[in-house]
């Protein structure tokens, strides 16, 4: 394949990847927003379902992992919560809100693991 053809293929794939990614993020965002609405009404299991769907649709969506972690915390599934926070920070390591949530989580989690101080 000539250099020109390779460049054309690359350009085409970049042009098609952009809208596809935006579609995925848009669909995932819908799930995340609905999850927030139901969580605010106390329906945490439904929220978990929505946020899990969001991470399946867009596996790099940090907000979805963050919310999932919060929901797992609320349900007492602390190992899953930790994994979800770590995933969220993997995609947005400088997000202070996720960091703050994770710090608060660790405070509780450490309390359950330590035998006193």
């Amino acid at each position: 394949m000539s250099a020109r053809a390779t460049a054309a293929v690359l350009l085409l794939s970049l042009m098609t990847a952009g809208p596809a990614w935006a579609d995925r993020r848009g669909d995932a965002k819908q799930q995340v927003e609905f999850g927030i609405q139901v969580a605010q009404r106390g329906l945490w299991r439904e929220a978990i379902y929505r946020w899990e769907r969001a991470t399946q649709i867009d596996p790099s969506y940090a907000a979805a992992y963050n919310n999932l972690a919060v929901a797992y915390e609320h349900e007492g599934q602390l190992d899953k919560a930790r994994a979800a926070y770590e995933k969220a920070l993997e995609f947005e390591p400088n997000n202070t809100l996720i960091k703050q949530n994770f710090d608060l989580f660790k405070e509780i989690n450490d309390r359950t693991k330590k035998d006193g101080r």
Binding site: N67, E73, L97, R111, T112, R117
Partner: protein, 267 residues
């Protein structure tokens, strides 16, 4: 309303709407359930037996701890709390040591050097190392089994409580009012070196199976509080303040707890 005011109001509304639309995070209250550290399904009753206490003469660490833990377990625990006289555990431990020493003198000593002189009367409890000699009582399985039998095999809560006075000098930051040349008031942080005094609470909780006399679990804590040198705080009130900090963790050993908090959900 004038046309200009209407324009300003509509602009403000539009701005608020736009801001609301941009909101990408939501604070939400959560309650994290924490499962108990100890499986207490085999017990229906709990006996807060007594504590080896020392440090500060103003507070009876044994009686106050027994009262506090019983009242907390009554309201926040699932076990029936046994009402019984608090054991004078320091005296019991001292007695057991004396008895052991007496039996050591009648039995042939393990080594020529080992005599009753190796077991002098236990020291008054002023600091942490003084407690060591008393702590043998917790491994006296027969003693705890007997206590268990007397109270229908409950879970036994006992331990040590050391509550001591404490002083430390260091830098303290506080806010101070200042007025500039125009008489305007400002509050600025000021660092000052000062002596502070307070208390340290070091409890160790020991959980014993009343059926076997064996220790199931033990936890040690350390809490400290310091006040300005001019503040006069009664020792008993500091004792409860420090106990209050560690009670949730103590209770979580025996029963599930829900820890309230706030988290942020993101869009």
């Amino acid at each position: 309303m004038t046309a200009r005011r209407k324009t300003v109001a509509s602009l403000l509304l539009a701005l608020i709407g736009a801001l609301a639309g941009c909101t990408s995070y939501f604070e939400i209250p959560i309650e994290t359930p924490i499962s108990p550290k100890l499986d207490i399904s085999a017990f229906q009753r709990v006996l807060v037996a007594g504590f080896i206490a020392g440090g500060n003469d103003e507070v009876d660490g044994n009686l106050e701890t027994v009262r506090l833990l019983r009242s907390q377990l009554r309201t926040k625990g699932n076990l029936r709390v046994i009402d019984a006289e608090a054991l004078p555990l320091a005296e019991i431990a001292a007695q057991q040591t004396t008895d052991d020493a007496a039996s050591a003198t009648t039995a042939p000593p393990a080594s020529p050097a080992e005599t009753a002189a190796d077991h002098p009367a236990l020291p008054p409890i002023k600091e942490e190392k003084d407690l060591e000699a008393y702590e043998k009582v917790f491994s006296n399985v027969e003693y705890w089994k007997k206590i268990g039998e007397e109270h229908q095999n409950p879970l036994i809560v006992t331990g040590t409580v050391l509550f001591t006075s404490h002083e430390r000098a260091g830098f303290v930051q506080r806010e101070q009012e200042v007025y500039d040349s125009f008489g305007r008031r400002r509050v600025v942080p000021v660092r000052a070196y000062e002596n502070r005094k307070g208390y340290i609470l070091r409890p160790q909780f020991v959980f014993i199976d009343g059926r076997t006399g064996q220790t199931l679990h033990q936890e040690t804590f350390r809490e400290e509080i310091l006040y300005s040198e001019n503040t006069s705080t009664p020792a008993l009130s500091s004792f409860f303040e420090l106990m209050d900090r560690l009670l949730p963790t103590f209770l979580n050993t025996l029963s599930a707890q829900k820890i309230k908090g706030t988290r942020v959900l993101l869009k």
